[in-house]
C-alpha cells in the first residue's frame, strides 16, 4: 500500500541559516505563505538553544553556514541546501550533511514548495528506514541466543528443530515479548518474562 505523502506544512518551524539578501527575503516570504514559522539565523552564528525548536533547516551551502551546525542534531531534521556554487568542494558538504533536497540560486518562489515537500517526506522515509534497521540489527544480534535455545530444546525435550522453534515463537507471542527474550528465558537467563497472556485478551 502506498503511504500518503506529507503536503501541508502549516505550523512547522523553519530555521533559515543564510546571510541577508533578496534570496533570503524570497525564501522567508514564501515559507510564510506556505504556513511555516520562519526563524532566521544570520550565518554563521546560530541562535543558542535553537536546536530543538525547529522542524526543518534551510542553509546556505555557499557561505560556510553549515560549519556551525551540530552534525548530530542536524541529522535529526530535514535539511535543505541553498546552492549557488556547483563546485564539487561545496557540494561535497551538502552530501556530508545529507541534505534531503535543495534549492538553486537565485531563489525564486517557484521550487520552494517542491524542495520542502521532498525534504520532509525523504527525511520521514529515512527515519522509518533507520528504525527498521535498528530493529533488524537487534534481531540479528539475538539470533545466536535463539539458536542456542532451539538446540537445547531439541536435546533436552526431544523436539524437532521446527517444533522447538515454533514453541519459542508461540510462547513469545502469547507473552508479547521479543523471541530473543523468550529464548533467554528458556535458557534460564534474563528476567522472567511474565505469565502467558490468553489469546482472548489480545487486542484485535
Amino acid at each position: 500500500m502506498s503511504r500518503s505523502i506529507l503536503k501541508n506544512f502549516r505550523g512547522l518551524r523553519a530555521l533559515v541559516i543564510m546571510a541577508p539578501d533578496a534570496g533570503r527575503d524570497t525564501l522567508e516570504r514564501t515559507l510564510g505563505k506556505l504556513g511555516l514559522e520562519v526563524i532566521i539565523a544570520e550565518s554563521p552564528a546560530l541562535p543558542t538553544d535553537s536546536t530543538d525548536i525547529f522542524d526543518v533547516v534551510l542553509f546556505d551551502a555557499d557561505d560556510g553556514a553549515d560549519t556551525c551546525m551540530d552534525a548530530h542534531v542536524m541529522r535529526e531534521r530535514p535539511l535543505i541546501a541553498i546552492i549557488g556554487s556547483e563546485a564539487p568542494s561545496r557540494l561535497a558538504r551538502v552530501i556530508r550533511h545529507r541534505a534531503a533536497s535543495h534549492i538553486l540560486k537565485p531563489v525564486r518562489s517557484a521550487g520552494i514548495f517542491t524542495a520542502l515537500l521532498l525534504a520532509v517526506n525523504e527525511h520521514a522515509a529515512r527515519m522509518r528506514h533507520e528504525q527498521e534497521m535498528l530493529a533488524l540489527r537487534r534481531r540479528l544480534a539475538g539470533r545466536r541466543v535463539v539458536m542456542k535455545a532451539v538446540l537445547q530444546l531439541m536435546t533436552l525435550c526431544g523436539l524437532s528443530e521446527e517444533d522447538a522453534y515454533e514453541w519459542l515463537r508461540r510462547e513469545a507471542m502469547e507473552r508479547r515479548i521479543p523471541m530473543e527474550d523468550m529464548a533467554r528465558h528458556a535458557l534460564g537467563d534474563g528476567p522472567h518474562p511474565g505469565p502467558q497472556k490468553t489469546r482472548a485478551s489480545r487486542p484485535e
Binding site: N8, G32, K33, S109, A110, F113
Partner: protein, 385 residues
C-alpha cells in the same frame, strides 16, 4: 481635475487553437474593462493596450511575452489561460520586473510575486464542489479527464475527499487533449452507475463526452442530470453553446455566473451583450479578465505610478465591486477573496445558481488552511486565524 495617467498594458490571449472559445471570452472581458475605463472621464488612468496572439501555442506565449516585455518594455500584461503557458512565460516576467495579471481559475500550488491571480484557486472551486457532490448525490464517483495537471490535481483533491467520506472512486481515466473516441468509457460509466461523474475533459473532448453520456444514460433509462450528474470546475457560459443538445443539467463550480443578480453584473452584461454577445453569455474567465484590468487600473491609481514594485504593493488588499460581488486581493499571496458558487446549466446557455457561499473565501493556493470538517463530506472552508 487630476491629470490622467497613461497606462500601457499588454494583452496575451489566444484567438485560435484548442481553447479559443474560452480565451477569446477572456480577451473580450479585458477589452470591455479597457473601453469602460477609457470612456470614463473621471477615471484616473487611460489605458493603451498592445496585443499579441499566441494562437494557443506555447512557443507563441514565450515569443509574445518577449515582444511585450522586452521590445515594448511593458510592465503589465493581462493574459494566459492554461497553467503550462503561465509557467512558460513566468521566468520572463521575473527577469523583466513585470507583472502578469492572470485571469483564470487554476489548480493552485503557486504563489509568484510577479503574478496577480484574479481567477479561483482550489479552495474556491474543487473543495466546495467536492462537498456539494458528496452531500447531495452520494459518495461513489467516476472521474474522467484530459491528461494534464488541471485534471490530475483536481482529481487528487476529490479522491481524498471521497476516501475521507468512506466512499469509492469507481473509475478514473485520462485521455489526450482533443480525444473524442469516448464510447467505451461512457459505456463503462453507465454500467457502473456512479452517484456522479466528475469531468476535467476540456474543449472538444468535453463537449463530445457530455453528449455521449446523456445519450447512453437515457438509453439505459437513467435521468442523468438528476441521478448521475456530470460536474466540473470549468464548464462555463462560453462553452454551453458548443455542446448542443446535451448542454443543460450539468453542474459547475465557479465564482461567477452570468445569472448573478447585482447592479454591477447588470452593468457588465449591458456592456457585454452588444459588443461580444456572439461569444455567448459572459463567463467566469471573461469576468476574471475584466476584474484583472480594473484591479490593475486601481492599483496604478493608488500607487500614482505604473512601476512594477509600486503597483505590486498597491494591489495588496485592494478591493473592487466586481460583477460577481466584492473581490479583495489577498495581501499575502496576490490571489483574490471570492465567493464560491455551484450552478446547473440550462438550455438557454446560462446557469441556475444552486449554492452560494455566504461570504468571500480566502484564496488558498496550497490548501494550507482548509480543514477537515467534522461531518463526513470532506475538507471544509472553515478557516482558522
Amino acid at each position: 481635475m487630476m491629470r490622467r495617467l497613461d497606462l500601457s498594458i499588454g494583452l496575451l490571449f489566444s484567438q485560435s487553437g484548442s481553447y479559443q472559445a474560452v480565451s477569446m471570452a477572456m480577451r473580450a472581458g479585458a477589452i470591455l474593462a479597457i473601453e469602460e475605463i477609457n470612456a470614463d472621464k473621471d477615471a484616473p488612468v487611460f489605458i493603451k493596450p498592445a496585443e499579441v496572439d499566441p494562437a494557443g501555442d506555447l512557443a507563441g506565449y514565450v515569443e509574445g511575452a518577449r515582444t511585450l516585455l522586452q521590445d515594448q518594455s511593458l510592465r503589465h500584461v493581462i493574459g494566459c489561460y492554461t497553467s503550462s503557458s503561465r509557467k512558460e512565460v513566468l521566468p520572463l516576467f521575473e527577469k523583466s520586473d513585470a507583472m502578469l495579471w492572470y485571469p483564470s481559475h487554476y489548480e493552485g500550488f503557486e504563489t509568484s510575486e510577479n503574478i496577480v491571480y484574479s481567477g479561483a484557486a482550489p479552495s474556491q472551486h474543487i473543495i466546495p464542489l467536492s462537498r456539494h457532490l458528496l452531500k447531495n448525490f452520494g459518495v461513489r464517483g467516476w472521474m474522467v479527464g484530459s491528461n494534464y495537471i488541471w485534471a490530475w490535481e483536481n482529481n487528487r483533491i476529490l479522491r481524498d475527499a471521497i476516501n475521507a467520506a468512506g466512499g469509492s472512486v469507481l473509475g478514473e481515466r485520462y485521455f489526450p487533449v482533443g480525444e473524442t473516441d469516448l464510447a467505451d468509457i461512457v459505456r463503462q460509466i453507465v454500467a457502473d452507475r456512479p452517484d456522479f461523474v466528475f469531468t476535467t475533459l476540456i474543449g472538444q473532448s468535453g463537449f463530445v463526452f457530455l453528449n455521449m453520456l446523456r445519450a447512453a444514460a437515457s438509453a439505459a433509462g437513467i435521468d442523468q442530470p438528476r441521478e448521475m450528474p456530470a460536474a466540473s470546475c470549468s464548464l462555463s457560459e462560453a462553452e454551453l453553446p458548443l455542446i448542443g443538445d446535451a448542454a443543460s443539467g450539468h453542474l459547475s463550480s465557479s465564482v461567477y455566473f452570468s445569472t448573478i443578480s447585482s447592479p454591477e453584473n447588470r452593468k457588465f452584461a449591458a456592456l457585454w451583450t452588444p459588443r461580444f454577445g456572439h461569444l455567448g453569455q459572459p463567463s467566469a474567465d471573461a469576468e476574471a479578465a475584466y476584474v484583472a484590468v480594473h484591479l490593475l487600473a486601481r492599483a496604478v491609481a493608488r500607487a500614482g505610478s505604473d512601476g512594477f514594485e509600486e503597483v505590486r504593493e498597491a494591489v495588496r488588499g485592494l478591493t473592487f465591486n466586481a460583477p460577481q460581488g466584492r473581490v479583495t486581493v489577498d495581501p499575502d499571496n496576490l490571489h483574490c477573496w471570492m465567493r464560491p458558487r455551484i450552478g446547473r446549466s440550462r438550455t438557454d446557455g446560462a446557469f441556475d445558481i444552486l449554492m452560494e457561499h455566504p461570504v468571500a473565501v480566502r484564496p488558498d493556493p496550497y490548501l494550507i488552511w482548509v480543514n477537515e470538517a467534522d461531518d463526513k463530506y470532506g475538507p471544509d472552508l472553515r478557516l482558522i486565524k
